[in-house]
Symmetry: C2
Subunit: 334 residues, 2 copies
DNA sequence: TTCCCAATTGTAACCGGTTACACAGGTCCG
DNA sequence: CGGACCTGTGTAACCGGTTACAATTGGGAA
């Protein structure tokens, strides 16, 4: 219960050796007598010495941590990705330093800055960052992986993308395949790049099939889904399919439609996006595009680790979500 | 694109002032001429200087980070709590340094050690840590909040507990109240303190009501729930209620029972624990004990911040989960 | 004009580690 | 027996910031 933690000099004094020997002894270097090493160990134990990692990092110029910048943790998507990041980091012996990116870009820059001397690499997921800003705020000498960047990216950064356009197209085509002709897209919030890409994929597929597009504004929340479903019920323009830009909205849509007496999928089929753990468990189970989020996180870390070693980013890495057909577009359920 | 990041001395040289002035200028101290400050700002911008936070931490002896030690991120529970922690940390201007506690206690100790000079406070959630070990591995001078500790806790640490016993009792009593008499408990994994406490609450309530207890082994996974339900279906000992020690298992139990032709809740009622986001959304919606997980996380951070300031832990703080009655023990659903 | 004081600025010590280099002592060799 | 070499250890510089304290400067008071 000392007031101040013991430092390496305290241990050196206690053991009657120099700080260099203490450092060598405790870090398992070979050039120390077993006798000295033992004496140092004893002194360290005696004083309850725990190395000050921050100081060590400073002299070694490496921290054993990876910085993660996320828009927020609210919503399944980032929680799941974080799981993967965490697993990957653990596997490589890194810790994760988390920082929330606020909508305020001023603060975001500060948050990234606050990681500068503390992490060996950076993972940035910022689907709503104003283009060019990202490049400006990334510290120049920290290897970084950016996931689904919207604008310019510094050439030194590794890019990982989820192919939102192709995935959205696939979902839309699936709805068309099962015979739907009046498919409405419930998009995500404005200013979120992924929302835009998914809408683009939807429009592509609709246009290619010679149908007419109809897009409702959404916000990625369950409430948004409920509101959208109400709109559809009220106006009765004969929609027979809904492609929601994420699962949460789809999960709001389905029960609202059913409460209004519409059968899903017979009267209206519904597709989501993300394949959050929820999607499989709700009734009726939700058809969705599976992004292997945990895998994505793992992969991001692996690529970051590679980048930290080579300093040479690979070509952008593209992941294509897979269509998972369940009850909301499939056979009637029990 | 310099090879090495600019340091404060580079900026000082560029601006033609001393390092002290640079530090003062950039940190907004008052004793600097506006002219100097401007010159420093220009030089910093010119060189793309970003302060090295690790170095700053070392001299200030504070890091602006809170260490979080979790058993793993797998499972809704910790994800949700982490969300709360994250929100709280953000609000207080802290970042979160995450570390997974492995089952291997050797490694866990290392993980905690690896936080020593890098965090201002520690949050430890270790429902499966061998008693006394925790006390040994917590660095003596770092304020810590431990959540649901199992054994001895250093007197300097703040304790936050979820009253698992009372909550499990409440759920069991609820099942009794709705008329069930053969209530089986599906417990969590051995070696997890929360599993033990929930079982104890169940046994208390069963004993108080003069009924007979029956406990099945579980593992907190959906598959475990499915397996347990199969057991119940197979042996037909007339169970009319199941209290699963977490939602995930309950979510495995319910559809398995229904697939076997049993009505939930009429033939067998099912209760879960945690109120994960899933619980409300599955069909039939799950009756469960709500732990406000996000709130819990927030609260933990608030208490930690208070502890960091006062160095005086408050009395252990007890949270009591609330019973949320939904369809699996309530009225038949649509 | 001279002295004093406040406002700025610079120098250098410090945070707690790591490690290049110097040095002491012993071994082995010619 | 002297020198080359190897091993173990200590000294002190360094990582990149902050800040106590000293030094410098200019303005106002006496």
């Amino acid at each position: 219960m000392n007031k101040r933690s013991a430092t390496i000099r305290d241990v050196a004094r206690e053991a009657g050796v120099s700080v260099a020997s203490v450092s060598r002894a405790l870090n398992g270097q070979s050039n120390v007598t077993e006798a000295t090493r033992e004496r140092v160990r004893a002194a360290a134990a005696q004083l309850g010495y725990v190395p000050h990692v921050g100081a060590r990092n400073l002299s070694l110029a490496r921290s054993g941590a990876i910085g993660v910048v996320l828009p927020d943790l609210h919503g399944e998507f980032f929680s799941e990705v974080l799981r993967g990041l965490d697993r990957g980091a653990s596997a490589h012996g890194f810790q994760l330093l988390l920082s929330n990116m606020h909508v305020d870009s001023e603060l975001s820059a500060a948050a990234i800055g606050a990681m500068n001397g503390r992490v060996d690499g950076l993972v940035v997921m910022a689907p709503h960052l104003p283009p060019n800003l990202l490049a400006a705020m990334l510290p120049p000498n920290v290897p970084a992986v950016v996931v689904n960047p919207v604008g310019e990216v510094p050439p030194a950064a590794q890019i990982v993308r989820v192919d939102n356009v192709a995935a959205a197209r696939a979902m839309t085509e699936h709805l068309i395949d099962i015979g739907k002709r009046h498919i409405v897209h419930l998009r995500g919030p404005r200013g979120n790049i992924e929302s835009d890409l998914r809408e683009r994929g939807y429009r592509d597929a609709i246009a290619a099939a010679g149908l007419t597009a109809r897009v409702l504004e959404g916000d990625f929340t369950e409430e948004g889904g409920i509101a959208a479903a109400r709109t559809l019920i009220a106006d009765r323009q004969g929609a027979d399919g809904v492609f929601a830009a994420n699962d949460l909205m789809a999960i709001g849509v389905v029960p609202t439609l059913r409460d209004a007496g519409l059968n899903v999928p017979e009267d209206i089929a519904v597709g989501g996006f993300d394949d959050t753990p929820l999607a499989r468990l709700v009734t009726p189970a939700l058809t969705t595009m599976r992004i292997e989020m945990v895998d994505l996180g793992l992969d991001v870390i692996n690529r970051l680790v590679r980048l930290m070693e080579s300093r040479e980013p690979d070509a952008p890495y593209l992941r294509l979500p897979a269509l998972v057909v369940r009850q909301t577009t499939g056979a009637a359920h029990a």
